[in-house]
Symmetry: C2
């Protein structure tokens, strides 16, 4: 192969003809590793080579062989310098937001030991809340990161759908499945994002507007008013009050999205107390979720007939009976909701809603008592769930001894923006929350 | 905050209630860094904090201030342990595939010193070909990584469009701009991919079918026949001959995509020798590229009136005169082409075409002589360019003293699959090529 012959007039080297001479920048590698020294735990739905992935159920573990490779998300965290301390308990087949597991025990909500920890990523949330690890991986299909984060008083991030790899993670319902993560510190939530998210497409962007979904906060009564006040005040201090709008999210969705009449009327049945448009959105999400779950796991369920705990077994029976009757209209609604929310938020707007409709429910409640709470919860969780937008549940400290949170939602793909935003104003949020909780405003 | 109280029956620790006991896997971090010990160079279109990004033209450099931050792609490579040795010469405003720069000199094609190195990522390709660095970053809008890789006898990868961050990279035409990279070794091409691409969505996938675009290889006459033979033989040895189909790509596109008559008739003018459907596809790509380039840089060009070398200045004048007249029909064609090629390749099919229609042109050729070659080249380059599919140019060694390559194309998003595939059968390709070149088959 011929060698280059031209010499650089400045430095005398032949390099001139293909690499610029100094002052062309030369940059050394930039250690240390981004997650150096941090520990994490992994929900038992991720494959780790040589170990059976348990999926929260002993019959599942018994009938499956050890994984032959490790999920790329776990590998990426190890390559970034973090240490995995183990796998965590989860709700059976990821089909609950409560966190109670009759086989392996219910992880203790260290913030509120008489309350459920939330699920299905229950153990991952508790491991972080109890300080056993710096961060943890969960999955969020219908709320399984956001809910336990809220109940356990920590940060929980659900990225935009299909942005973080779900390879070697047992599917629940692919139209909604995401890999999410928990931490006590917004800096660590961001650092993990830096490792798991694609490289940022844009940087240094500024908040354009901030919408408070005032109808959604009404689910929480006076607590909702307090949380909206904390959020509005914090945005005002950090970014200016001119960016804030209050909006009825339900009305907006009702106007912009064609909601099938039967979805709305269903919402007036078991979901009588929900905001009608959100009830319909949540109904569509649950229909699709059931159908996809059935396609994924119906055959195994029917052949193995596993032992499944109360609550979950009823929902799984419903899923097994589901058909593709409404799949098309659900998909249409999904696409229209994404368009409507994209118009609402633009590139760099943010929507604030409650993560859940109140403080964590008590342990061992019968499902009838929980029905109204669950219906409202899913009507909130389906906003990002069905649109595929990213959402972070931000802890606001303890109120009357129970953890309280707020959720921020940004458009699909604005994951870095949302994580940076939370870092920028979390300190203010925390201070404003402390003022309100102490003064009882 | 309450502490957990339950103890594990097996290990006596309180951990049981939220983290599974052993044999729950604990995994240490996995050093060393993936690019530890490797060096790289960066095309002078990427921002590096504190340095002016030169864009291949002294007037651009003179009228722009130093970058205030570094491109996320460059940062990611540094964080992965690689050392940046400097920035490389490029064609002015990235508006050429030749690699000749009248201001800074033309990087010497070390494989063929009397031939052009190819552009616009000329210096990045030569830095790798000359062994000065292990890999380098370029950008590829219309062919600016694939072409110099082919001319310099190295690997050049153009990822799926919008999959690798183009943040802090000067835009050429956003509908096509990609960040690509060069290496001499397929393992290093993959390693860089592992750092720059999003985490893999799927792994361990197998080739389903392999299509050889026989009409495209006809551009190269008997050399094209030899290359198709090498490729077919290598696929046969590595994956089995039942996977191989020969196909006229032009006919397929003509049948599946609605090509506006004026695009086809243009192709019968200056592009008389191209396959008509590919000529039309390439015409659409150039129209859109010109329009987007004008939107990006028209104002600067008109106010600064920079000194621009021959060939490039004519193309820039054309771009400045462009309008949005055909933008909608180009976008429609773009979307139809993507759909048609997605049907053709499915999830894990591969298409083989020539990267360029022949061996590298001689230095300092007048543009009239190059016209036919350029028209054919763009008709090949536009296949992945307009569809957004990923493409890798694979070197096949020297034939009559000049570098020869073949390109493999996979669907949008199948970047890991394509990189793994090349690793799996490059050795065979190289061996088959050596047999053919030596025997003169």
């Amino acid at each position: 192969m011929a060698q280059p012959t031209a010499k650089c007039e400045d430095c005398g080297a032949f390099i001139k003809r293909f690499i610029l001479c100094p002052p062309s920048p030369a940059l050394p590698p930039s250690p240390p590793l981004p997650l150096h020294g941090l520990t994490f735990a992994v929900k038992d739905i991720f494959d780790i080579e040589g170990h059976v992935t348990g999926f929260g159920n002993p019959d599942w573990a018994r009938t499956h062989v050890p994984a032959t490779s490790t999920a790329p998300t776990v590998l990426a965290l190890l390559e970034a310098g973090a240490t995995c301390v183990g796998k965590t308990i989860m709700d059976e087949m990821a089909y609950s937001i409560n966190g109670e597991n009759k086989h392996y025990g219910t992880p203790i909500n260290v913030c509120a030991p008489d309350r459920v920890p939330g699920g299905s990523s229950s153990g991952s949330a508790v491991a972080v809340a109890a300080g056993l690890v710096d961060f943890s991986l969960g999955t969020d299909t219908g709320g399984s990161v956001r809910v336990p984060a809220s109940y356990c008083g920590i940060f929980g991030f659900r990225p935009s759908h299909a942005v973080v790899s779900t390879s070697k993670v047992i599917p629940m319902a692919q139209s909604f499945d995401t890999v999410g993560w928990f931490a006590r510190d917004p800096m660590i939530i961001s650092k993990v994002g830096h490792v798991l998210l694609p490289l940022p497409g844009e940087t240094n962007v500024e908040l354009t507007h901030f919408i408070i979904a005032k109808d959604c906060f009404k689910y929480l009564g006076s607590l909702g008013e307090q949380i909206s006040h904390i959020v509005a005040k914090s945005v005002e201090v950090s970014f200016g009050s001119h960016l804030i709008t209050n909006k009825n999210l339900g009305n907006y969705i009702y106007e912009k999205v064609s909601l099938p009449r039967e979805f709305l009327s269903n919402a007036s049945g078991s979901q009588a107390s929900t905001i009608p448009a959100l009830g319909a959105v949540s109904f569509a999400m649950r229909l699709l979720q059931r159908f996809e779950f059935m396609i994924n796991h119906g055959k195994w369920l029917e052949s193995v007939k596993p032992s499944i705990g109360p609550g979950i077994s009823e929902r799984i029976m419903e899923a097994l009976a589901s058909t593709d009757d409404n799949v098309d209209s659900c998909m249409k609604l999904k696409s229209e909701l994404k368009d409507a929310l994209t118009s609402l938020l633009g590139e760099y707007g943010v929507l604030a809603i409650p993560t859940v409709p109140g403080t964590p429910p008590k342990l061992n409640q019968d499902s009838t008592t929980l029905e109204d709470f669950r219906a409202k919860a899913f009507s909130l969780l389906a906003v990002a769930g069905l649109s595929g937008f990213c959402q972070i549940s931000v802890p606001l400290g303890l109120h009357n001894g129970l953890p309280v949170s707020v959720s921020l939602i940004a458009r699909h793909g604005a994951d870095y923006f949302l994580l940076n935003l939370v870092q920028a104003f979390y300190q203010t949020l925390k201070e404003q929350a402390a003022v309100v909780w102490e003064s009882g405003l």
